[in-house]
């Protein structure tokens, strides 16, 4: 191919068709050079030639084709086949006994267990989160005693498995047979027998709350630290009080960092409540166990519990999506509606190969 140097204001004779339409594309237009009538200055701007090659025409006219990724498609097919096998076995293996699953799905005692699981999760999460905010505030305070207390609490609680904590609170009566309300080292007003107070359900509540508080504290602390120092400084300069700065300025801006982690913690907690079955608290799992210990239909009844846990987790994930969207206001440049639930769900299906930007959606 002959290389040609195309002087834009003096087109090469063998490409006459290109010249009239294209010159204005390269030559500095009068509006850009600042004066409507090209003076000597404008001449200088035009006089610098662009080096053109023949391929330019074809390249400019060509359509863009994105690269195919064969590896991705092979992977997608493999995953799809595995998925089809899973669905197939769920449907065709008679030992799942789906009929029995259906019979027990809304069984009365299972429903009561489900309700207990739900309110235990709600109560533990609310109290644990509030305690966690307090612990995080202590950890970030300038008072060294408060700081070390908070640090020590988180360190101790995170070091002990939740199951051990649960058993500990359940057996607390063997350490302290009586609990009293009164002046420290002084007079006692009320005294109760610990064994009467710490029933299974209270032990479950206290044990799990203590645990969740420690983890919430770390999540909240991380969220608060993610808010720029300048935000509270500006609020201080505006004469806002400390409480108001925390409630109105720092916490709302920490929430985008807090919510995904808390959602994770909440879903973890929903499932972790099943460990209360070891201290005979009749939650969802324990109710199911009571039934299958009598009729030995272990698998179908475990499937009942599993399906309920899946349904609850799905509902929580959807709730998390809306909370995240609420706290993301002011984060996006365009104020239009955000990505829909469908797009996020789609973005989380790797087989569609659209995972790059959308993974930030549902956990």
């Amino acid at each position: 191919m002959r290389k040609s140097c195309l002087w834009l204001f003096r087109p090469v004779s063998d490409t006459p068709s290109a010249a009239p339409g294209r010159t204005d594309r390269y030559v500095t237009s009068p509006s850009l050079s600042g004066s409507a009538v090209p003076g000597p200055g404008a001449d200088q701007l035009i006089a610098r030639p662009l080096v053109a090659r023949r391929e330019d025409e074809r390249l400019l006219a060509a359509r863009l084709v994105t690269s195919h990724r064969p590896g991705q498609w092979v992977g997608a097919v493999v995953v799809l086949v595995l998925f089809a096998m899973l669905v197939h076995t769920l449907v065709t293996n008679p030992r799942f006994q789906w009929g029995i699953v259906g019979d027990y799905f809304v069984n009365g005692s299972i429903m009561r267990g489900l309700v207990l699981t739900l309110w235990l999760t709600a109560a533990v999460m609310s109290c644990g989160f509030l305690l966690g905010i307090g612990l995080a505030a202590m950890r970030l305070s300038s008072n060294p005693i408060l700081r070390s207390l908070s640090f020590g609490y988180v360190w101790l609680v995170r070091s002990v498995p939740p199951l051990v904590q649960l058993l500990f609170w359940y057996e607390i009566a063997s350490l302290y047979p009586q609990l009293s309300l009164g002046i420290p080292f002084g007079h006692e007003f009320v005294t109760v027998k610990t064994a009467h107070l710490f029933t299974g359900i209270l032990a479950a509540f206290v044990g799990l709350t203590v645990d969740i508080a420690a983890f919430s504290a770390e999540i909240v602390r991380g969220g608060i630290l993610s808010v720029e120092r300048g935000q509270s400084e500006a609020a201080e300069a505006l004469g806002l009080g400390r409480g108001r700065i925390f409630r109105r300025i720092v916490l709302p801006q920490a929430m985008p960092a807090i919510v995904p982690a808390m959602g994770n913690l909440l879903i973890g907690l929903l499932k972790a409540t099943s460990i209360v079955s070891v201290i005979a608290v009749s939650d969802l799992l324990y109710s199911v166990q009571l039934i299958y210990q009598q009729n030995f239909l272990i698998m179908p009844l475990l499937m009942v519990a599993t399906l309920w846990y899946i349904i609850l987790t799905t509902l929580l994930s959807i709730g998390q999506y809306f909370i995240e969207r609420y706290y993301a206001r002011g984060k996006r440049r365009n104020s239009g509606p955000g990505r829909g639930l469908w797009q996020i769900a789609r973005g989380n299906l790797p087989v569609f190969g659209r995972t790059r930007n959308d993974l930030a959606g549902l956990a």
């Binding site: 300069a237 300025i249 706290y327 002011g330």
Partner: protein, 270 residues
């Protein structure tokens, strides 16, 4: 225009008949660890005057400004605004730090504008502006009306619903100025208000500050905009290494600085 430059000798006495300056800073010292940031600052700012603080980075300009509304606690010396000691109460030859609530009340009458704007990202322009007044007890409706007028004054009428991220740096800084003005302060502090802006956006922000100066607002401005200082300042103060090395009207300080450090600085930035 008689800011005292004395560093070692005592502060200049107010001549009889003269009113008390709005801001009086005396013997201000501040260390960050072993590093001495402010080394005995004495400065007066009269009501309606614009004082511009100049100096190389690390010379203590921002720290000095932040001491004026007690964002930074001085190690010794004091700041007085409108005859009131900032952040402390004098009692029995001791300076007791004020409870947070009272410092808060003092700060509400001193507006401050930051280099990084520091607008509240989760709030609209309107919510940013009314936050201070509403916290101070102004009825919401009244605060909203005032905010509308302030936005108009900084050239952003109708942008009430915009979030900071939807605005350019220059627009954000003008909202930040409106936010500081919403508390009807007697004194405005500007900490390098144009340093984080694209060059073409600097003009709009400076124009707003210039208007503010023309309206008689007392201001202390830390800036590197020498042209702005020449035009607007009543008093230019040059800091170096935590001390005031030169101060006076811009015509003197900016054109014929006596101190060698100030001469070198001006030669470098002009």
């Amino acid at each position: 225009m008689n800011a005292s430059v004395s560093t070692a000798s005592g502060p200049a006495e107010t001549a009889p008949g003269e009113s008390l300056p709005l801001v009086r800073i005396r013997g201000l010292r501040k260390n960050f660890g072993p590093h001495r940031v402010l080394d005995g600052i004495d400065l007066d700012v009269r009501e309606g005057e614009v004082t511009v603080l100049l100096g190389p980075s690390g010379s203590g300009k921002s720290t000095l400004l932040r001491c004026v509304n007690h964002l930074e606690k001085p190690d010794s010396g004091f700041v007085e605004v409108a005859g009131e000691l900032i952040g402390y109460r004098y009692d029995h030859s001791r300076l007791h730090e004020l409870p947070h609530r009272q410092v808060t009340r003092q700060r509400a009458r001193i507006g401050m504008v930051f280099q990084q704007f520091n607008l509240f990202g989760h709030m609209t322009a309107l919510e940013n502006i009314i936050e201070g007044p509403v916290a101070a007890g102004v009825p919401r409706k009244q605060a909203v009306a005032a905010a509308g007028e302030l936005l108009e004054r900084v050239g952003l009428a109708g942008r009430e619903g915009s979030y900071p991220r939807q605005m350019s740096g220059g627009q954000q800084q003008r909202v930040a100025i409106a936010r500081a003005l919403a508390l009807q302060p007697r004194l405005m502090l500007f900490d390098e208000p144009t340093s984080a802006l694209d060059p073409e956006l600097v003009g709009d922000v400076l124009a707003v500050i210039r208007d503010l100066a023309a309206s008689g607002m007392t201001m202390i401005v830390v800036t590197h905009e020498i042209g702005f200082a020449r035009e607007v300042a009543d008093n230019v103060v040059f800091l170096d290494d935590g001390r005031i090395v030169e101060s006076g009207p811009p015509a003197n300080v900016l054109t014929s600085p006596r101190h060698q450090r100030a001469r070198a600085f001006l030669a470098a930035v002009l």
